[in-house]
């Protein structure tokens, strides 16, 4: 198996796991990597929506596991990225218990033979769906927002990832620099301190992102979206490049992160 298998998770719902998975996958694909996205949120599938491929789903993860189709048949290719981006959709009419951890892990292993990256979109929570999602992964990206409840949940999830020996890195989503400046929102520094996690991305809040997910347009495809560039940077950091974080006007953390990068 050649692919890197990364689960995108958070604990708290609604912090941007699916948006991150879709956009990061698109960014990697745009850079020439072969990427397969897996939606582990059986019963509440949204990854296909966000990627805009909902109408072309024929088979899903559960049908693969139940042997009603081949793995390849279930993949839906996003034609905007040539051969580089595909998704294995979740089932909508089933429940998460339709798939065991072992079965999920086997599916991800199978996908790993077909691409460079498998990104697994985890459901919210730490129940069966979450356990399935991490079962197939070798690394994790934890997404959080700078809010106490999100951080508390991320902390719980990080603990669970550690138990499984999964190396993880952090993406802080929906940062509002003006609120950080006035002290009404935690800084990225604070978040990293509390979670003791290595940072791989800082994504500012942008209310127009919802529109792009509604329309199924990955940010990297829309030149009007500056956030696309940020996901490209995250993709490059995943590939091992050392890219400094853009100062978001919160002062202080830029120097600190640079420090960390220099340390390796």
């Amino acid at each position: 198996m050649t692919a890197r298998r990364i689960v995108v998770t958070s604990g708290k719902g609604g912090v941007g796991k699916t948006t991150t998975t879709a956009n990061l996958g698109a960014a990697l694909a745009q850079r020439g990597k072969r990427v397969i996205l897996v939606d582990a949120d059986i019963g509440l599938r949204n990854l296909d929506l966000v990627l805009g491929v909902e109408k072309r789903i024929v088979f899903d993860l559960v049908e693969v596991v139940e042997g009603r189709c081949q793995l390849r048949q279930a993949l839906v290719r996003d034609k905007r990225f040539g051969e580089n981006l595909a998704i294995l959709p979740a089932a909508q009419t089933r429940e998460k218990t339709a798939v065991t951890e072992l079965q999920f892990a086997e599916v991800v292993t199978g996908l790993g033979d077909m691409c460079d990256y498998v990104l697994i979109d985890s459901p919210a929570g730490i129940e069966h769906g979450f356990r399935n999602a991490i079962a197939g992964a070798a690394e994790a990206l934890v997404v959080t927002t700078p809010e106490v409840s999100a951080i508390r949940d991320a902390d719980r999830v990080i603990g669970k990832l550690q138990e499984r020996g999964l190396p993880m890195r952090l993406i802080v989503n929906r940062v509002r620099p003006e609120m950080v400046r006035t002290g009404e929102m935690m800084s990225v520094d604070d978040v990293c301190d509390i979670l003791s996690a290595e940072l791989v991305g800082i994504v500012p809040d942008d209310p127009e992102v919802i529109d792009t997910t509604n329309r199924g347009v990955p940010l990297v495809l829309d030149p009007a979206q500056r956030l696309g560039a940020i996901y490209i940077k995250i993709a490059r950091r995943l590939e091992g490049e050392m890219i400094p974080f853009t100062q978001l006007g919160a002062g202080g953390f830029f120097g600190r992160i640079f420090e960390a990068l220099r340390a390796g």
């Binding site: 339709a98 065991t100 951890e101």
Partner: protein
């Protein structure tokens, strides 16, 4: 050390060495040999046991009439995990490693089976075989449903399906015959699912995510303008699904005609 839970007994071995726990369990069971007879149990392990110890546990449990569903857990008090350090595989013996690998999945799967009334559980340590797809129930010629079909719900019928209400995105209809929706069809509709290429899909508002007729699949197209009642059917060549305004719903052929 023995707790009752919704799905059965939980026998807690964690928090101390296996031998101590095992001896206590054996004593309890010998003291009241039929008290737990007929129950199912899962064991929460602390220390990783050897194959031999597991064997003895299994026979003690079966001697007391307890069906052993599975084992899980590694208690942090016995094998302490510093909060942020990954646990290495090397700590486990071979038999314990295979136990740990899918304990969560197996446990949930078994709980699920029990809930569905399947009493007998397969041995817990092996990968679970996939369930075969449930067959479409032979039903009346027309399945008639009143009300909105919500996302995640699905209806299947060997004959026709008639919905009085909307079919929301995420909902699914599968019919051997025709599909008629007196409402908005926004989900996935599959007519002629058993191969009938003359099957049709009718809706007051035809805005499906996807349409399937026999073996042909079409993604829903963007619609503009005020909706009118429409019908979808296989075009002449049979490789496209065509849509045309429909004055009235289709005459539903009797199943005798169709088959």
């Amino acid at each position: 050390m023995i707790r009752a839970k919704a799905g059965g007994l939980e026998i807690i071995f964690s928090g101390r060495p296996f031998t101590d726990a095992y001896l206590e369990l054996r004593e309890r069971l010998e003291g009241a040999p039929d008290f737990y007879r007929g129950s199912n149990a899962t064991v929460v392990l602390g220390e990783a046991p050897s194959a031999d110890e597991l064997h003895r546990l299994a026979s003690t449990l079966s001697g007391a009439g307890i069906e052993w569903d599975g084992a899980y857990g590694l208690d942090s008090t016995v094998a302490p995990l510093p909060k942020r350090t990954p646990r290495t595989e090397a700590e486990l013996s071979d038999s314990a490693r295979s136990l740990v690998a899918d304990f969560e999945g197996a446990r949930k799967d078994l709980a699920g089976r029990r809930q569905r009334g399947e009493r007998r559980s397969p041995p817990p340590l092996i990968a679970v075989a996939p369930r075969p797809a449930p067959p479409v129930e032979p039903a009346s010629a027309v399945l008639y449903h009143r009300g909105t079909l919500r996302g995640g719900q699905s209806l299947a019928n060997v004959g026709h399906i008639v919905i009085v209400g909307d079919v929301n995105p995420g909902a699914e209809l599968v019919a051997g015959g025709d599909i008629v929706v007196f409402g908005a069809l926004r989900g996935v509709a599959h007519a002629g699912a058993q191969g009938d290429r003359s099957a049709r899909v009718y809706a007051l508002v035809l805005e499906p995510t996807q349409l399937r007729i026999a073996t042909t699949i079409a993604a829903g197209a963007e619609r503009t303008g005020a909706p009118v009642p429409e019908e979808a059917f296989l075009a002449e060549a049979g490789d496209r699904i065509a849509i045309a305004p429909a004055g009235h719903p289709p005459h539903l052929k009797s199943t005798a005609e169709q088959l």
